[in-house]
């Protein structure tokens, strides 16, 4: 890595002592010698292991659940179903008043994706829990499922989630989050070229080294200590408090050292049910995802579809941009309504475009609920935006890098969501990339500045 101090030297003071120094990390010796303690290193006498009975169907009504055989299985201590969860229907963003509550801790009457948790089995060993889970009999009536976002949005599509009432999240702005910045359609008519293109991604797994999980210890004083690898301690504690209808003062969360998160450990999935198990049995409980569960059960990055329509002039100026984004939330909201909204605040990218129209939809389908992941709401959008930029440059016969200089945002430029640009540095990044990659651009672009007027 190289620090290029020559850029922005006039707006930066390099007079610090501890900051800017490559001090060795105090925790790295523990990490590389295997001495760092993670949640799963906690092992308590009498600890029970929790395993989930999961739906084999994408969408089905639950006619009945029979746990009698499983209860007789050697080593089984407790079996939990929906009726055992005090506040079974929840959504994590309810903490910040983003509803409706639309997801069940344990399925009640219906499953909406293949892998959804239906019954929790607590046993003396992992093996006993696994074997007993296999003996739980769930009678399903399979329902038609919808997997494709466009299909889901058509009238007459199977309804994925009754708590929403339609297969999209209803914002205060309607069926999508909207950004309106000038009359885009009128300006398209004036463009030298129009280009409309669609981009698509598939779900992506965070693939952390350490799988999602927690270990819960009843403290004997009516308090429960939860050792967890959540990425957000109080967010998880407060949601648990709602789901279990327990005062927060009864909950004690310990964590802070996580073996990789990437956004995959903010869904509050394992802690509430494990604490409930500890509460009902009076014993420590461990609930840790297997690698298979991490891959297919835990939330992935949402699949997205992005449609971009641009009006561009022969001289390289983009004069209007229209973006429609679709986020595949899967069966439940989790963080997806915010992800779609974050996209609306990010388009049209780091470019100053005078006329912009943005619609972002959060769509429900019968698949693993997606949620936050590194670059939430932005990563796939950037893929679409930057491939589109490449196509536009070639369409007008211009160098793709020079084309970006023409449109790059600078300090003071108004963004589509009506915030003035501050602290821009896109031009300087491109100038340095031009040098580093030996991709020459015209002198006038190398003389440009994000913040010096006239340059």
């Amino acid at each position: 890595m190289e620090l290029r101090k020559s850029y922005f030297a006039d707006v930066r003071k390099d007079d610090l002592h501890e900051i800017g120094q490559p001090r060795p990390r105090s925790d790295s010796p523990g990490h590389v010698t295997g001495k760092t303690a993670y949640f799963a290193d906690r092992n308590f006498p009498g600890m029970l292991h929790l395993k989930m009975v999961r739906s084999p169907h994408h969408h089905a009504r639950i006619r009945s659940i029979d746990t009698s055989e499983a209860e007789k299985h050697p080593g089984v201590v407790k079996i939990l179903t929906a009726k055992d969860v005090p506040h079974n229907v929840y959504t994590i963003l309810i903490l910040i008043q983003v509803g409706p509550e639309d997801e069940t801790v344990l399925a009640d009457g219906k499953v909406r994706w293949k892998g959804e948790a239906v019954v929790a089995v607590l046993a003396e060993t992992e093996r006993a829990a696994q074997e007993a889970a296999a003996k739980v009999k769930v009678d399903y009536e399979v329902l038609p499922a919808v997997f494709d976002m466009e299909e889901a949005l058509k009238p007459g599509a199977p309804l994925v989630n009754e708590y929403h009432g339609q297969n999209y999240y209803l914002y205060d702005s309607g069926e999508c989050r909207k950004v309106r910045f000038g009359d885009v359609e009128a300006v398209f008519a004036e463009a030298d070229h129009l280009l409309e293109q669609s981009y698509q991604s598939s779900p992506i797994e965070h693939a952390p080294t350490e799988t999602t999980g927690c270990v819960v210890m009843p403290e004997g004083n009516d308090r429960f200590t939860c050792y967890t690898n959540t990425q957000a301690m109080f967010f998880t504690l407060d949601n648990t408090s709602i789901i279990l209808q327990m005062p927060g003062s009864k909950l004690h969360f310990v964590g802070g050292t996580v073996g990789g998160g990437f956004g995959g450990k903010v869904d509050v999935i394992v802690e509430p049910i494990a604490i409930l198990g500890a509460k009902l049995t009076g014993r420590p409980v461990s609930f840790v995802y297997s690698r298979e569960e991490e891959m297919q059960i835990s939330s992935p990055r949402a699949a997205e579809k992005v449609v971009i329509k641009d009006g561009v002039m022969k001289d390289g100026r983009i004069i209007a941009r229209k973006v429609t984004g679709y986020t595949d939330a899967g069966a439940y909201s989790r963080h997806s309504p915010y992800g779609a909204q974050k996209g609306a605040g990010h388009y049209p990218g780091p470019y100053t475009i005078p006329y912009v129209w943005i619609d972002t939809y959060c769509v429900y389908t019968n698949r693993t609920p997606s949620s936050a992941m590194r670059g939430f709401g932005v990563t796939i959008g950037d893929f679409a935006l930057e491939v589109q930029m490449d196509k536009l440059a070639r369409l007008i016969g211009m160098d793709p890098l020079e084309f970006r200089f023409i449109n790059a945002y600078r300090d003071g430029d108004m963004k589509a969501h009506r915030q003035p640009t501050e602290g821009a540095a896109l031009i300087e990044c491109m100038q340095e990339a031009s040098r580093a990659a030996n991709w020459p651009v015209a002198k006038k672009y190398m003389a440009m500045s994000s913040y010096v007027k006239g340059a």
Partner: protein, 334 residues
């Protein structure tokens, strides 16, 4: 049939933090009786090095070496509220809270030192080595060790501070979408060079040159680990990763690291990282969040390089050999 070479570029920006329900993080700082400093948080270290960075920020602000600072996180019985580690917010939000708490603690420390030295607190400065000096008369000094002892056993003062950083909630305007979704923006530009085998559809990323602008590199070595890892993830996203290879069909999803593909040691591109620093107005010592954006620009850069190499656009991620071959076949049929 041949191996064809191409290059592609992409430039991006990325918001620091999230602003859905307001974005708060708090911190507490206190000194031990012998002048070490404890930072208490509930923020989570995901492996990115949050604890180390908070120690360096606290040390810089108080004016002591980093090894005099210990970070205690994340226990909800002791640590004050943190929204969480996500949205590239950790360094920025918690860092600002730590600065505020450390400033308050430093002020008490200087007041006690001023009483011991019989000067005004405003006449004092730290030397960064664990001592407090009188400005312009450095021979008149006291160690922070002695200041802490005095505070605890003689003066009855608590050398401590409280820090709070909050970005107030922004509600998007219904009709126009006017909103303040985040604070400062990090930037990046990546140039990727690839080889595409037009017989097998396989893509080899030869080089990836990343320029990242991150406000300030608080610890350059840790910045490097984050950016190199991110660059790898971007390439992985572009060419390899998905839990549903035939999306929207749900079949054939990988369930372990044998089936869920990612580039291994033999697939690593030659990676160059260049960092620029335009300090942000609201960041801790000017830092912006580098955590997420560093994995973004490689994806379109690789996609554009594939097109440059073989003349087909793959607009669906991941860009698999199968998709490239199908596109080449369709192109040949034209």
């Amino acid at each position: 049939m041949a191996i064809r070479r191409g290059r592609g570029v992409a430039a991006i920006n990325y918001p620091t933090g999230m602003n859905l329900g307001g974005d708060p993080t708090q911190a507490l700082v206190h000194s031990t009786p012998t002048g070490n400093f404890m930072v208490t948080l509930s923020s989570v270290d995901l492996g990115q090095g949050m604890k180390q960075i908070m120690a360096q920020i606290c040390a810089e602000t108080i004016g002591v070496p980093t090894d005099r600072v210990v970070v205690d996180t994340a226990d909800t019985d002791t640590g004050p509220h943190c929204m969480g580690t996500f949205a590239s917010r950790g360094t920025h939000r918690a860092g600002n809270a730590v600065i505020q708490a450390a400033k308050e603690a430093r002020q008490v420390m200087l007041e006690v030192a001023a009483e011991e030295l019989e000067v005004n607190a405003s006449d004092l400065e730290t030397d960064g080595q664990g001592n407090i000096l009188v400005k312009g008369a450095p021979q008149k000094s006291i160690s922070i060790f002695d200041v802490a002892l005095s505070a605890h056993f003689k003066r009855g003062r608590s050398i401590s501070g409280r820090g709070m950083f909050l970005i107030p909630r922004s509600y998007p305007e219904k009709e126009t979408g006017a909103m303040k979704p985040s604070t400062c923006y990090a930037h990046a530009c990546t140039v990727a060079e690839v080889e595409v085998d037009d017989e097998t559809g396989e893509v080899t990323v030869l080089t990836v040159k990343n320029v990242f602008e991150i406000g300030r590199a608080l610890n350059p070595k840790m910045v490097e680990q984050q950016l190199v890892g991110g660059s790898w993830m971007g390439i992985s996203h572009a060419l390899y990763e998905t839990t549903e290879p035939y999306y929207p069909n749900r079949d054939h999803g990988g369930t372990d690291f044998n089936q869920y593909l990612m580039p291994g040691p033999g697939d690593l591109a030659e990676t160059e990282i260049i960092v620029l620093e335009r300090p942000s107005a609201d960041g801790p010592y000017g830092a912006k969040g580098p955590g997420e954006m560093c994995a973004n620009p490689q994806i379109p850069a690789v996609a554009n390089a594939v097109f440059d190499a073989v003349g087909v656009r793959i607009d669906t991620l991941p860009i698999t050999p199968e998709r490239i071959l199908r596109a080449l076949k369709a192109q040949a049929a034209h």
